[in-house]
Subunit: 269 residues, 2 copies
């Protein structure tokens, strides 16, 4: 089920700037046990994105109403919000336009339990993320880098691909953020130049700090990863998956190992 | 008038990857005196874009049929082609999807004659273009950098904004390419890291070489521009506009000065 500006529709104007220029933002939210997960963090990122792109804020109440409608009677789902600058403007210029809000509901994908329990293999993408501080951190609609990266592999043994930036630092997965544990401290790439500031990433940082774990957001290299005690990836839909292998480099994972990852999986569920 | 996959439609599925990820390409073509301008160069860029994004080639005949329909009886127009990866795939992955082709016709905008005759002022944008060699040169649908840049100014005294890359080199205008003339040689920024390889830029390089003018595609700095004998911008719709001023730095232009620009304007019209 899809609502566009509150009305049940499947299609939108092909003059919408979301299509013409990727001029907009999105959020992908999990609904579990009939409850929207981490709404306040999703809302926060959406409004930060609006500020950075000079988009008028949507009305939170209307979005929540729409979400209520598309998930009525549903226990678990993926809710996707697409928020574009709408139709109008002259070329790239955008004065006086009315944004389009699109609320979609999809089934929550089923992943093998082994992903959470035993961990996953990461493909090391050749696609590098460009440094664009004006867009870094945002979940905007310009996602060709992710599309190109995700399509470098089709071997199902890789559950996700790891992306570095054009300067070689580790940034994120194609659809996830990455953390590593070293000497009981948590490290995750800083995202001032590229990457998406995932809501689950933010939630994990909060949970870790609430549990007296030290978290460092910094420049991370592949060499740092090779020396990690634990590595995991995260997003709103998969939550936390331990990483057992990156590009044929093995990290041993088992329910007994990776104690920090296990603790965070327990806290976030 | 708009045709989507050959049928008169105004709207498309909001699941189209063109909207979801900016996963596609576009072309903006001038129709003048009932004739499509520089079709072979537009077609060439579109197919290069398809190769780089792993999109199946559209059928040239179908696109030309669609264009014939939307411009039937029209003398002058802007024809915009939008070519997306269509609906489908799982997240960023895109195996087995059917592209969407959208052909649109708009009135050719009317600009003051003084733009061509006396020249225009350029605003110097603070937005910098990121280095992404995988997308450089293509006219793809990820255009947030251009949107942000174009909206830095609304003073109508600036007809266009000049964009540098994150390393400070001159790249292009928000909707145009840029050339400078120095000692009768033509210089234009090389576009291996960012920018759009404009069809009119390519046409100008061809025309210059046919007329025994030397053309250099290279790294250009703002300092190089300050020392230019002539500067002009170009695209399919405006063709060639001399530049008389960049960010309050004046270049004298008059029909008697700028002989190379005048010659190229004459050749391209």
């Amino acid at each position: 089920m899809i609502l566009i500006n509150g009305k049940p529709e499947q299609t939108l104007s092909c003059l919408d700037r979301g299509l013409q220029y990727g001029d907009g933002l999105f959020e992908t939210i999990a609904l579990r046990n009939g409850k929207l997960q981490n709404w306040s963090l999703h809302w926060q990122r959406l409004t930060i994105g609006c500020e950075r792109l000079y988009l008028p804020f949507p009305e939170e109440e209307k979005i929540l109403d729409d979400i209520g409608q598309v998930t009525s009677g549903v226990e678990s789902a993926v809710v996707k919000i697409l928020y574009t600058r709408g139709v109008g403007g002259r070329g790239y210029a955008f004065s006086e336009v009315t944004p389009t809000r699109i609320i979609m509901q999809f089934p929550l994908p089923k992943y093998p339990d082994t992903n959470s329990n035993e961990g996953v293999n990461l493909y090391l993408c050749k696609t590098r993320l460009a440094h664009q501080p004006l867009l870094a951190g945002l979940k905007h609609l310009n996602r060709l880098e992710n599309v190109l990266a995700r399509n470098e592999w089709d071997d199902t043994k890789y559950a996700e691909g790891l992306l570095c930036c054009t300067k070689g630092s580790v940034i994120e997965g194609t659809m996830s953020n990455i953390f590593m544990v070293k000497n009981k401290m948590l490290y995750t790439p800083e995202l001032s130049q590229c990457g998406v500031r995932g809501v689950t990433r933010t939630r994990i940082i909060q949970l870790a700090e609430e549990n007296k774990m030290k978290v460092v957001e910094d420049n991370l290299s592949l060499d740092d990863l090779w020396q990690a005690d634990e590595i995991f990836i995260c997003n709103s839909i998969i939550r936390i998956w331990p990483v057992k292998n990156i590009a044929d480099f093995n990290f041993s994972t088992s329910p007994n190992l990776n104690p920090v990852t296990r603790q965070l999986q327990h806290l976030i569920n």
